[in-house]
Subunit: 392 residues, 2 copies
């Protein structure tokens, strides 16, 4: 078990009608702000009345608001610059994201950029580490990205289509996250499925580790993975099943708040590889992961089958033989079947990417992330090209 620091100070307020607390929470935990920028996505938060309820709660607590709507999936830097300017112009001293990962990541980037003299992209380019930001709050509507409980933010730079994940230990962690499963009832099936693939991937990036003897973290990770896979079908059978939606929502948070990585080295290559596909082809992140991970695992079965085999046995319920490769392949097969069962693609073709430009993907990948990448197993451009091709 490696040395580690673990701190997840976000206050999660979970349950029916939790958004009614937003005003009180903003006052108590966002530093008694005078004016909050409320960032939101497409039209559903408005149509459902959620945005109105949030505004009402904030105003009732004596807090002024500014609004920024229409953040798209795979959020881009132009909106961040816009938000930073707006905050400075209007004296905003806290930021609340009402939505899913894209909205929250945008809110985080804005909160970070407002207190920085230079270009906020400097942090994403790795020039310096985030230290301070305006206080951030969240009202979650899409469980997936786990951004409500993480210190991360993923933004795409339009110029050059670089999709970068900024990882901060604590600076960008939301002070509170309001989580009402009822807000997810209207999430379309495909988006629900993408979210499930994303949260599974978040656990797997930590599960595929070179670190030995991290049984406790393994136990938590495997328990989480099993429960997500067990509950998923119920959400599609009945989108208004409160408990099913609640479990998926909470799993999304637990999958990414760090608990599944305590004491061990993580991987993240699958996410890096998916980011390139999303950046170039504009596909949904979760759908991309459903294609990438099985291919990455198939490559790993050849060179480092131990963890794929354990995953197969402990998570996918493959009866153990004494052959790691055999078990691993069976597990990958079950994972693909699961993804198919919830409507996700498992090949680039099914993802809608015809004639993928492997050279471009590999080139951008190693430009963005370095010549040799990977935690579980080191990969160079020759290896990542093989993995991309396994996605056909």
């Amino acid at each position: 078990m490696n040395n580690f620091t673990y701190c997840t100070p976000t206050r999660y307020v979970f349950g029916r009608n939790a958004e009614a607390e937003t005003g009180r929470l903003a006052k108590e935990y966002l530093g008694d702000p005078k004016k909050v920028l409320v960032v939101s996505g497409g039209s559903s938060a408005k149509k459902s009345g959620l945005l109105d309820r949030v505004m009402k709660a904030l105003h009732s607590a004596g807090i002024d608001t500014e609004e920024m709507e229409g953040i798209k999936p795979n959020p881009t830097d132009d909106r961040v610059y816009e938000g930073i300017a707006l905050c400075r112009e209007r004296g905003v001293d806290a930021v609340i994201g009402v939505g899913g990962g894209s909205v929250i990541d945008t809110a985080k980037a804005i909160a970070l950029g407002v207190l920085y003299e230079g270009d906020f992209w400097d942090f994403y380019a790795g020039k310096l580490a985030p230290e301070k930001a305006l206080p951030i709050g969240v009202v979650l509507t899409i469980p997936a990205a786990g951004s409500e409980g993480s210190g991360n933010s993923v933004i795409t730079k339009l110029d050059g289509l670089h999709k970068i994940s900024l990882r901060s230990d604590f600076a960008l962690r939301p002070k509170f996250a309001v989580m009402n499963p009822e807000l997810t009832y209207t999430l379309p099936a495909y988006q629900t499925a993408c979210g499930i693939a994303d949260m599974i991937a978040h656990i797997m990036e930590r599960y595929f580790t070179p670190t030995k003897n991290v049984e406790v973290t393994d136990g938590i990770s495997e328990g989480l993975l099993r429960s997500i896979i067990a509950v998923a079908p119920r959400v599609f059978a009945n989108p208004r099943d409160y408990d099913a939606r609640a479990n998926i929502m909470w799993a999304g948070t637990m999958a990414h708040n760090g608990i599944c990585g305590c004491g061990r080295t993580e991987d993240w290559v699958s996410h890096f590889m998916e980011h390139e596909i999303s950046a170039v082809y504009g596909v949904a992140h979760g759908a991309g992961l459903a294609v990438v991970f099985p291919a990455w695992m198939t490559y790993m079965t050849e060179v480092a089958p131990e963890r794929p085999a354990r995953f197969a046995r402990e998570v996918m319920g493959v009866p153990a033989t004494f052959d790691d490769k055999s078990d691993a392949l069976a597990g990958i097969g079950r994972l693909k079947a699961f993804y198919h069962s919830i409507g996700l693609p498992v090949t680039l073709g099914e993802l809608g990417v015809e004639n993928p430009d492997f050279d471009l993907l590999v080139k951008k990948l190693h430009e963005d992330k370095g010549e040799i990448i990977g935690g579980y197993h080191k990969l160079d451009a020759e290896a990542t090209e093989k993995i991309y091709k396994l996605m056909l």
Copy 2:
């Protein structure tokens, strides 16, 4: 899944030589204190040089110290009053506990009492809820009580031998917890075993719930339980096995920081029943739990076998039949065998309690906790008497 709020803001600093960070952590997270009261237990922290290292780290960070040593297991209120007076006299503005649950709980009680005009026991008697306390830090030496990550504190009032657990949501949560597994190498086998029984019980009090459909929390709980039971034998085989000690230490924290209870109603009757045994007979808390829990589960097998059966199958690996009672009893048998295998008692006789006064235990139990108790299943005095008798 019930509505819930989850917040565990403690900063865990885990690993080899982590105690060297104590000065920096105290400065940054205990409000830049001028003077810290360092509370410690028996002689081992001193003999090992740990106490010196902690003092040195604090002094290097420019922080003065006062000391209070010799806190005993099942800590009592007299030392708390002593600590409160000392803090007020010497201008102490933060408290650090160096030890296990008893030391940390004492530190918490002192931190709470210093800022309260009246008698600190008012909180434990349930007259009012804790709101503010001096900032608290921890250097953990005994994994078990999980007090480093919880908002709880268990103190015994000498007058009347009332052992009460004060539960606070956030007021008593330590700001940081330094956790170095090497500090636990010299923990005697019996104390190690008691700690393991305590952390298992902490999970089980949340696992035995009347709330349905909390799969994610179940998954985490079962994964944790399985990993503790899997790792335990290695700690006894080699007390200096770093990874084994590390996993047990981290499991102790995860078992009690709230994550295993998210979204569900908890039980805690077994702990209430054990507290009475400890208060009257002075036995070790973990050993008492190894006796109490199997008896409580045996009673539950008759009246509410569903969760004991699931525990048996998911945690103890009992092959599932279609008979909950049968599976449950097999699981209890395996749990008892596990406790025996790590040197713990499973009957009052083995615990060293001859001729237990059941009337006294039942009377005190319901005086302290109410006529009807229990989350998983409601129990009156007639039922709790039966359970106590099952411990023979």
